[in-house]
């Protein structure tokens, strides 16, 4: 009953939100050109789809997202493992990390453009940087936190090299912590997608800027909702994957 109640309340809240949104431009409280009512969105969406802009922008953004996320997470996991496993590596990189870590991902935009031009690789670079730090610290912490007793089990059974220690114990034991970092990164990367595309790399962000310069605010909203939807889809998929990977937990 409680769950039914909370679902009903959530639906009522959403309905009220949409009603208010619909009412504001219709009652001329705000200029409809500045805030398109939700009822105008299906038509705008249909236009974007039939014109081919929507599938193209989504495909472009998704490819930046997936490649950037993959590169950033891959590098973050690899270096996080090294840093978690070897004190010398952590010491070696300690000050470099301190220096680079506080620089926001977006502060790399000028260099992204200089190095890669207004190209998909520039967007991938921006996304990857944001993802990298989150996953790096999550991985390093997770490896550091692995129960030493389990490492001893591996040693007692003769798995004594660093590679065996990594594959038999550290990586599986650190997986829950790494996945928490990855999930945060999943959201962070979406923000980076828009930011990276707003400076011109084709994709959802670029399409939004284009539409806004033509005052097609309904199209802007369509893409905002598209992003929310895609993120929801990825997050749900990720949570399912996480549940499966961690099915060994109580």
């Amino acid at each position: 009953m409680t769950s039914f109640r909370s679902v009903a309340l959530a639906a009522a809240g959403l309905a009220a939100f949409l009603a208010l949104w619909e009412a504001a431009p219709r009652l001329d409280l705000v200029n409809p050109a500045f805030l398109p009512p939700p009822s105008s969105l299906p038509a705008a969406f249909a236009r974007e789809i039939s014109g081919g802009a929507w599938p193209r922008a989504v495909a472009e953004s998704l490819s930046h997202y997936v490649v950037g996320l993959g590169a950033g997470a891959g590098a973050g996991i690899a270096l996080g493992l090294l840093s978690g496993m070897f004190r010398w590596f952590e010491s070696l990189t300690a000050w470099v990390v301190r220096l680079l870590r506080p620089i926001p991902g977006l502060a790399w935009v000028p260099f992204a453009i200089i190095w890669f031009g207004v190209q998909p690789s520039a967007a991938v670079f921006i996304i990857a940087i944001g993802v990298f730090w989150i996953v790096f610290f999550a991985t390093q912490g997770a490896v550091r936190g692995v129960d030493r007793d389990l490492v001893e089990v591996a040693q007692a059974f003769g798995f004594r090299g660093p590679f065996a220690r990594l594959t038999k114990i550290l990586l599986p034991a650190a997986t829950p912590g790494i996945l928490v970092g990855l999930r945060t990164a999943l959201g962070q990367a979406w923000m980076a997608v828009v930011a990276a595309e707003i400076f011109g790399v084709p994709g959802i962000g670029a399409r939004m800027m284009q539409a806004s310069s033509l005052l097609s605010t309904d199209i802007v909203v369509v893409y905002m909702l598209t992003m929310a939807g895609l993120y929801g889809l990825f997050d749900t998929g990720f949570v399912a994957l996480q549940g499966w990977l961690l099915r060994w937990r109580a």
Binding site: D149, L150, A156, F157, I169, W248, A250
Partner: protein
């Protein structure tokens, strides 16, 4: 000493001479073990008893190469073909939580260069030996404490060690489960004929299981008593001779620790 001087089997499977272990922290040297000599004949069920802190567990850790001695030698007379001459059962089962029971048992075999099907077949046989064949597909968190420790025993036996090391394996279990597992270990020992080094602080457990009880006492730990338990098997817990042996050992232990 060369192998040809003696008939096969006469040499101890483990020969510990002058073993010492000390560590230094903040400039202070702490000795855990000091000039320990101990020879373990092949096939013996040797139980090491002593209060906590006398270095019983440390001795096992040295044998399995988890701790480095600061002096002395350990000579093993194990077959060259044995991939894993010794296996250790920890006090807490220490199963790997992300592996199902069967794969936990197969863990040590992954070093032996066997195909996966062969590893699983061997692991299944070991699970059967400890009476848990039905639980092969479970996750460790779904097991009771006693079941977990049985899996740990199966995992150790799976690598076919010549010596089974057990570090207070039942001290965290309730007494009912503990007695069941003691009988189990006794049965497995009779079935496999392995040499067993078993550490405990429970004297009743020691005399019930052991062919020979070695008492470690003092700080640093030294051998305070070395007693043969010459009783036929299977043994009865309430057997008068067994109770007498335990009483004798208790008296010996308190006399020795008063001396040291």
């Amino acid at each position: 000493m060369s192998a040809t001087d003696l008939p096969a089997g006469a040499r101890p499977i483990i020969d510990i001479r002058g073993l010492s272990l000390a560590y230094e922290r903040d400039g202070r040297r702490t000795e855990i073990l000091s000039s320990l000599d101990l020879a373990v004949p092949r096939g013996q069920f040797l139980v090491i008893v002593g209060e906590s802190g006398v270095g019983k567990s440390t001795l096992l850790r040295v044998l399995i190469d988890l701790a480095k001695p600061s002096g002395g030698t350990v000579t093993l007379d194990t077959k060259a073909a044995t991939r894993t001459p010794m296996a250790l059962v920890f006090q807490d089962a220490r199963l790997l939580p992300w592996r199902r029971v069967l794969d936990n048992v197969a863990f040590g075999l992954e070093r032996h260069g066997l195909p996966k099907s062969e590893r699983r077949a061997r692991a299944a046989a070991m699970l059967k030996l400890v009476g848990l064949a039905d639980l092969a597909g479970r996750w460790p968190h779904q097991l009771s404490g006693g079941q977990r420790q049985r899996v740990a025993i199966a995992r150790a036996l799976a690598v076919e060690p010549e010596v089974l090391l057990m570090d207070e394996p039942f001290s965290a279990l309730d007494s009912f489960t503990r007695e069941g597992l003691q009988d189990e270990v006794q049965r497995i020992k009779a079935q496999t004929g392995k040499t067993v080094l078993f550490v405990t602080h429970d004297i009743d457990e020691a005399v019930y299981l052991a062919d020979r009880v070695v008492v470690l006492a003092g700080s640093p730990g030294r051998i305070a008593a070395d007693v043969a338990i010459d009783l036929p098997r299977p043994r009865q817990r309430r057997d008068a001779t067994l109770i007498e042996a335990a009483r004798h050992l208790r008296a010996e232990l308190s006399r020795r620790s008063a001396e040291l």
